[in-house]
């Protein structure tokens, strides 16, 4: 495996209603790129944490009950305290019609599920320009 470029230490919020997926993403980011992570199990929880914590990025699931990824995205961008946090969508919605709506979101990037846990950190870093 190609050695990853040097990646700066970051703090990432993972918002997903699927516990197993949250666990896998957490492990991948912490173990393979050494970033700090925090998790939210719903959109509302994610908004709360984003407003409370200092974050370098948010990895955001779309399909969630109550407040889904789209709504959270709008809420984050509407809130001055969170609007500068880069958002990367992590979604299982991969059909073209799903992407048309995603394209309207002002997000830093989209990573589709399933993802490779060994490289997801690298992908995020590249999307956000965190590589040297």
């Amino acid at each position: 495996m190609e050695l990853p470029k040097r990646i700066l230490p970051k703090r990432i919020l993972i918002v997903d209603d699927e516990e197993d997926i949250r666990d896998v993403v957490q492990v991948a980011l912490e173990e393979f790129v050494g970033w700090q992570t925090c998790v939210a199990t719903s959109g509302l929880e994610g908004l709360y944490i984003a407003q409370q914590e200092t974050l370098d990025a948010i990895l955001l699931d779309i399909s969630m009950p109550d407040m889904d990824g789209f709504q959270l995205c709008e809420a984050l961008q509407a809130d001055p305290t969170t609007q500068l946090i880069p958002i990367i969508v992590l979604t299982a919605n991969v059909l073209p019609r799903d992407h048309r709506r995603l394209a309207d979101l002002n997000v830093a990037g989209i990573i589709t599920k399933p993802f490779n846990p060994l490289t997801i950190g690298q992908q995020v870093a590249e999307l956000l320009g965190w590589t040297d």
Binding site: D20, P65, N93, R97, T112, P114, F115, L118
Partner: protein, 850 residues
């Protein structure tokens, strides 16, 4: 002065009565031209003797002849002879119709010999009187002049003159002969009758000529003995010859006659001359210009006393026109007969109505036998035969039409049915035009033709048109006809419904008027290409804007209908409302999207967990590694369930699951379902409460158990530990649509159980209604219907935690629906939900019979 003896004699001959009646006698004297000529001949010699005898006499004093003769004793014999001669002369003179006068040169009458045959018109006429006092002045003057001329020249003067006496026009002739130097003899003859005859003859000849001219009769004479011919002008003309030329010879004449008619004419002419047999022939002659003329040639021989033919008198009449007319008439009759006899299934006829005698046929062409199986002669003899083949009700109508025609001379035009010999109904079209004859009879010339086939075609056409009209009107898609101008000319009901306009409103519009502005350009371009023939058909998904302002997406298929010359008549457009299709497509897309998402979600966990394990990062941390293995395992199971459920649902929806139906015990079904979830309930600390119903349902038992199990499983999963789940069943009657009234909403479970005793109901509309009741958190109202759709769990993550696939209720609904039952839920948030499902109830009596 004494009266000459013969004048005395004349006086005695002429009694006053005779004089008065003389006018009646003189026509006898003139019997014709020949008679006149004879008279003139006799008269001339007689006059000569008279003149001779008078000339010997003295001019003034006439001696007494008697004395002269008697006093001459030496001449007794001579005297006797003379006496006889004079007597003879007197008799002749008396027989003459003429007025004989002796006048002096100055016009004085010296002698007057009146005549029985000559009227005395002038009362002053007597001896010693002068012509000036007797005759009208112009006549008198002329007389004196002529006397003078006669005396001067010594020659007889003859002249004719008209005069009017007592209103009568007269013609007289005067002959004036000098007797001596002083006297003249005047013989006056009445020419009135002769002139009248001449005039009559002239007029008669003129009339004959005129008649010949009018009748175009040429007249000819042939003198057999002399071999001469005398032809009238028309005879020349009929033969195409110049009337100013002399008559041709017989041989020349024969050359003019048509070759085929020469022998006949020759033979007829010879028979006429030799045997005195008249002839009348129609012959053809060839005119110099080559045209052929038909002549009717007649000849009549004139015989002499010995019975020999002396002359042939004949006529020629040009009958070319008549021949032409005759030929045309024959031609027309033949044509009529041919038409009548050859009418394909039809005939022509003539009917006569005769007052007092009724109607009868006078002509029927042969076709009647082919058409009606009746012989023409039979119908001519008995017109009633026609009524035997006619259909009674049609005959009634036909009689009305005929009666009207009889009264008003209106043409007959009707269609009626006959029954053929084979018993089939045959349709006839009958047309005839009446005309009234001078004798009061009315004649209809008509034709009857078979129109059975036409009627059948008509009927087929009507059916076809009706079918088309229904197909058009009742078509489930909109159909519209549009002119090349874009204007609507016809549309069906569906089209009107689709666009929201009435037909009358649409007829005022063009298709562009109801087309979405964004689609107009493309639609018009397609229409243009159609019109131009660049494309045969045009398809387009377009949007209409309804009268109400709604946008309706449709699929338009249109083609141009053209006339024989290829000119566009109108376009026909089929318009399919694709809102439903769009909806289905959206749902399909949605489903695929959701399925994709639902499949990817467990795969993401599996892929992530396995990737982490494979990296070896947890090689030294076994608890972490075990957690990853557990994630992979759980999600694998979930994936399997999901795939199974998707397949089950798809098979149910597409009807690929054949329901093996049988009579099932409701209690047994309930028992199996309870047993299959007992372990789950025990594990969750949930109490299962159920009350078996003794009844039979017609159902596929496995699928019903699966459904009940699913509902019970959900109830257990969403009930708090320590709670209860109830399963009950009851028999309900009536339409299941009304069974589903929200009786259980918010009323708790006891209500249902208390009412669960079997009901006495009619079997036709009876159902077994199962109820699964829980004490869960309840379902919001807006989700009550939605939860039966795929992947529409109330709470996705919660459902997944409980191992749900999001398809369970969708599968349940499909199974129940395929049993002809219904599934629904009643719920109170915070108190719990009750799922109901109905299955057809099978009464005891029917057990095992189905």
């Amino acid at each position: 002065m004494g009266i000459p003896f013969y004048l005395q004699d004349w006086s005695s001959w002429l009694s006053p009565v005779v004089l008065a009646d003389a006018s009646c006698c003189y026509p006898l004297l003139l019997a014709g031209l020949l008679g006149l000529i004879v008279l003139v001949v006799v008269e001339t010699s007689l006059l000569a003797s008279i003149v001779t005898s008078w000339s010997r006499r003295p001019a003034v004093a006439l001696p007494k002849p008697e004395q002269d003769y008697l006093s001459d004793p030496t001449c007794t014999q001579t005297q006797e002879a003379l006496k006889q001669s004079e007597s003879f002369n007197r008799a002749i003179l008396n027989a003459l119709p003429d007025l004989i006068l002796r006048l002096r040169a100055d016009g004085t009458y010296l002698d007057i010999k009146p005549t029985t045959a000559f009227p005395t018109y002038f009362p002053n006429l007597r001896v010693g009187e002068n012509v000036r006092n007797v005759l009208p002045p112009p006549i008198a003057q002329q007389r004196l002049t002529m006397i003078a001329t006669a005396l001067q020249t010594g020659a007889m003067q003859v002249y004719e003159y008209p005069l009017t006496v007592q209103g009568q026009p007269l013609w007289q002739e005067a002959r004036i002969m000098p007797l001596n130097a002083e006297e003249v003899l005047v013989v006056v003859r009445d020419l009135t009758e002769r002139k009248r005859m001449e005039e009559a003859l002239r007029q008669s000849e003129a009339r004959l000529e005129l008649a010949q001219q009018v009748a175009q009769v040429g007249y000819w004479q042939f003198d057999v003995e002399q071999g001469t011919r005398l032809w009238s002008e028309l005879t020349f003309r009929h033969l195409g010859l110049d009337p100013t030329q002399p008559e041709p010879s017989w041989d020349e004449l024969l050359q003019i006659v048509h070759l085929n008619d020469r022998a006949t004419l020759q033979a007829s002419a010879e028979r006429a001359i030799t045997n005195g047999i008249p002839y009348a022939l129609d012959i053809r002659v060839v005119h110099p210009d080559g045209s052929i003329h038909y002549l009717e040639a007649r000849a009549e021989p004139l015989l002499n006393a010995q019975g020999q033919v002396t002359q042939l008198i004949g006529t020629l009449l040009d009958i070319t026109d008549r021949k032409g007319t005759e030929a045309a008439l024959q031609e027309r009759e033949a044509m009529l007969r041919a038409i009548g006899d050859n009418l394909p299934k039809g005939y022509i006829y003539q009917i006569v109505y005769e007052p007092g005698k009724g109607r009868y046929y006078t002509y029927l062409s042969a076709g009647i036998e082919r058409l009606l199986g009746l012989k023409p002669e039979a119908v001519l003899a008995n017109p009633q035969l026609m009524r035997q083949v006619g259909i009674a009700e049609d005959l009634v109508y036909a009689d009305q039409v005929v009666q009207e025609s009889l009264q008003n001379l209106t043409p007959i035009e009707l269609q009626m049915r006959n029954r053929t010999a084979e018993g089939q109904i045959q349709w006839s079209s009958i047309r005839s035009v009446p005309r009234r004859l001078p004798d009061g009879r009315i004649v209809w010339d008509g034709v009857e033709v078979d129109i059975t086939e036409l009627k059948q075609i008509e009927a087929a056409l009507r059916t076809s048109e009706e079918q088309f009209r229904r197909a058009f009107d009742d078509a489930p898609i909109g159909v519209s006809l549009v002119l090349p101008t874009g204007q609507f000319i016809k549309m069906n009901r569906r089209y009107c419904e689709l666009i929201g306009y009435s037909e009358a409103e649409l007829l005022e519009l063009t298709f562009a008027d109801v087309t979405h502005p964004d689609d107009q350009a493309a639609d018009l371009e397609g229409f243009r290409q159609l019109l131009a023939g660049e494309i045969q058909a045009f398809h387009m998904e377009k949007r209409y804007i309804t009268k109400q302002g709604d946008i309706v997406p449709v699929l338009l298929n249109t083609a141009m209908v053209r006339d024989e010359q290829g000119q566009p008549l109108y376009s026909i457009g089929h318009v399919q409302d694709i809102r439903e299709r769009r909806q289905i497509e959206r749902m399909k897309d949605e489903f695929i999207s959701v399925v994709s998402h639902e499949l990817r979600t467990p795969l993401t966990s599996i892929r992530g967990a396995l990737g982490i394990l494979e990296s070896g990062v947890f090689n030294t941390r076994s608890d972490k590694a075990r957690h990853m293995v557990q994630i992979a395992l759980n999600n694998s199971d979930r994936l399997v369930r999901l795939v199974n459920d998707i397949l089950t649902l798809e098979r149910l929806q597409s009807g690929k699951v054949a329901l093996v139906m049988e009579s099932c015990s409701v209690a047994e079904l309930m028992k199996q379902a309870i047993e299959s979830v007992q372990a789950l309930a025990d594990e969750a600390g949930i109490g299962l409460v159920w009350q078996p119903l003794v009844a039979q349902v017609w159902a596929a038992p496995d699928l019903v158990v699966q459904t009940l199990t699913n509902l019970l499983g959900n109830a257990i999963k969403f009930s708090p530990s320590g709670g209860s789940v109830w399963l009950s069943a009851e028999i309900r009657s009536g339409d299941w649509r009304t069974i589903g009234s929200p009786r259980g909403t918010g009323t708790g479970h006891s209500n249902l159980l208390n009412d669960s005793a079997p009901l006495s109901v009619s079997t036709a509309t009876s159902w077994v209604c199962f109820a699964v009741q829980d004490q869960g958190r309840g379902i919001p109202d807006h989700k009550l219907e939605l939860i039966f759709e795929p992947f529409q769990q109330v709470d996705v993550s919660d459902s997944r935690k409980k191992g749900g696939t999001g398809l369970g209720l969708a599968i349940c609904r499909n199974i129940v629906q395929q049993h002809g039952g219904r599934i629904w839920v009643e719920s109170t948030l915070g108190s719990g939900s009750t799922f109901f499902l109905t299955l057809p109830y099978q009464p005891e009596s029917n057990n095992g019979t189905a």
